[in-house]
């Protein structure tokens, strides 16, 4: 029950089966962009995409999350009840890997109950990449088109059918639930998958050699490359908001009449206000420091703390930057400067 085949004409039945039991999130196209949304009844998601514009982190780490509600002048705090189990359909391996990386931080020392509860309630059905995007470089940072880290079930498109491999008990349970739609995978299927994945791996055109970067970054603290890179930076939050491993948030109180809530929302280290002290002092006063912090956080600090690079090579920041600030290019310059 670990490797099964799903014929493509059974796809909608398979989705219907999952949706019958749990809330299913799947990539949905809205105009030119793609993001994960709860599947409407009867809808069948298309799996024909390179990757979503907004990473699936939104499901386990919503952009705005109420921590608790209260009434002004009263002491009771009401903690919202988190939704039940969810299935994420069509998660790319890089995004799933990002979740397991971010989880290390949310587990560090003190558990973050909101993130972890949502994460535990989510079953990740991955979709191996057969046609990687232009700026994918997952193989350079420890991932791959069929990386299984963080996933419960991996699907691979074999043309006529999908190969479904259960990776965890949660994944096995999904397969069991949909048993009557599946067939035991023939021996050749796994080899066929290897072929698809191998071709995808070859198709990844961008790469960066990360050896020595985490150790070398502190030595480049005052290097002119930061000024050079930051000069063109607009200081917007696109790269960080849409990064699957970025996890910084802000906590604010919002009040309407006598009702209030304390909630957290995504924040970006590219904003000046992010580190601004109430006194007016800012430890990172310009875009140079902020750009340097972004790269250092992913490629140095996180490595020091959790022994893994906090970048999965999904290429979103490269694709979506309005002024072509290219992470791979920055890393190449870092490497050169070492």
């Amino acid at each position: 029950m670990s490797a099964m085949l799903l014929n493509k004409d059974q796809w909608s039945a398979f989705v219907g089966k999952l949706a019958g039991e749990k809330k299913v999130w799947a990539p949905v196209k809205r105009g030119d962009i793609m993001r994960f949304e709860p599947l409407e009844e009867g809808a069948v998601p298309s799996l024909d995409f390179a990757n979503t514009t907004v990473p699936p982190k939104t499901v386990v780490f919503p952009q705005t999350e109420t921590l608790y509600r209260y009434r002004i002048g009263q002491a009771e705090l009401a903690v919202p009840v988190l939704e039940g189990e969810a299935v994420l359909l069509g998660v790319r391996p890089c995004d799933a890997r990002a979740m397991s990386i971010v989880q290390k931080l949310f587990r560090w020392d003190v558990d973050d109950p909101y993130y972890l509860k949502r994460r535990e309630a989510a079953t990740l059905v991955g979709l191996a990449c057969s046609a990687p995007g232009t700026n994918c470089f997952c193989t350079s940072v420890g991932g791959g088109p069929a990386s299984t880290e963080g996933l419960d079930l991996l699907m691979t498109d074999l043309g006529e059918s999908y190969l479904l491999e259960a990776l965890t008990d949660k994944g096995k349970a999904l397969l069991e639930a949909a048993q009557d739609l599946l067939q035991e995978a023939p021996a050749g299927a796994v080899q066929e998958k290897e072929k698809v994945v191998g071709a995808a791996e070859k198709a990844i055109a961008r790469s960066v050699d990360t050896t020595g970067i985490p150790q070398g970054l502190p030595g480049l603290w005052e290097h002119p490359l930061w000024q050079r890179t930051a000069a063109g930076c607009l200081g917007c939050g696109t790269c960080t908001f849409l990064c699957p491993t970025c996890h910084c948030f802000d906590i604010q109180d919002e009040v309407e009449g006598f009702e209030g809530r304390r909630c957290r929302m995504w924040d970006s280290c590219m904003f000046a206000e992010y580190t601004l002290h109430a006194s007016g002092h800012n430890p990172r006063p310009t875009r140079r420091e902020r750009t340097r912090n972004r790269i250092n956080h992913k490629y140095n600090y996180f490595v020091q703390k959790f022994d893994v690079i906090a970048c999965v090579g999904c290429g979103r920041c490269v694709n979506l930057c309005p002024v072509n600030i290219d992470l791979v290019e920055i890393l190449r310059q870092v490497k050169e400067a070492l």
Binding site: T64, T66, R69, E256, G257, E259, R261
Partner: protein
């Protein structure tokens, strides 16, 4: 919309004309709808478009801004600026689909108690026709 719907109107009145006009309406016992919540500002030029948006976000079904007649501004020209600014806001709000009946602007002088009544009546009637403004409410959404 049900007949019983009573709109919630926020009115920004300038201190020198419209507020005095509303006052006059009161002292002359002119009856006007009680749906109006008056916020006194020193000049209609003080009204930031964000005030209007915030009122709508926090539960107003309609907003009224009222000041002195052109040329009569206590500060000489405040209402001229307000006219440009809020005229543009009205265009913008209409363009994104906020019913134009939800936002009105008027000139009411200190002696126009009766005009004040008409303005309020029109604002309230319009907002009532437009119905409760749920779409934009802060609390209705993901609170």
């Amino acid at each position: 919309m049900s007949e019983s719907f009573e709109p919630n109107i926020v009115a920004f009145l300038c201190n020198w004309c419209s507020y005095a006009g509303a006052d006059l309406a009161g002292t002359s016992r002119v009856q006007y709808p009680a749906n109006i919540n008056v916020i006194r500002v020193m000049c209609s030029g003080r009204v930031n478009p964000l005030f209007v948006m915030n009122a709508l976000q926090q539960g107003a079904d309609g907003v009224l801004v009222s000041g002195c007649h052109p040329g009569d501004c206590h500060y000489m020209e405040g209402n001229f600026y307000a006219r440009r600014r809020l005229g543009m806001l009205k265009d913008l709000m209409e363009f994104v689909g906020i019913d134009p009946r939800r936002f009105h602007m008027s000139w009411v002088s200190a002696s126009e108690g009766h005009k004040w009544k008409e303005v309020v009546q029109k604002t309230v009637d319009d907002a009532r026709e437009a119905g409760p403004f749920q779409g934009f409410r802060r609390r209705q959404i993901d609170w």
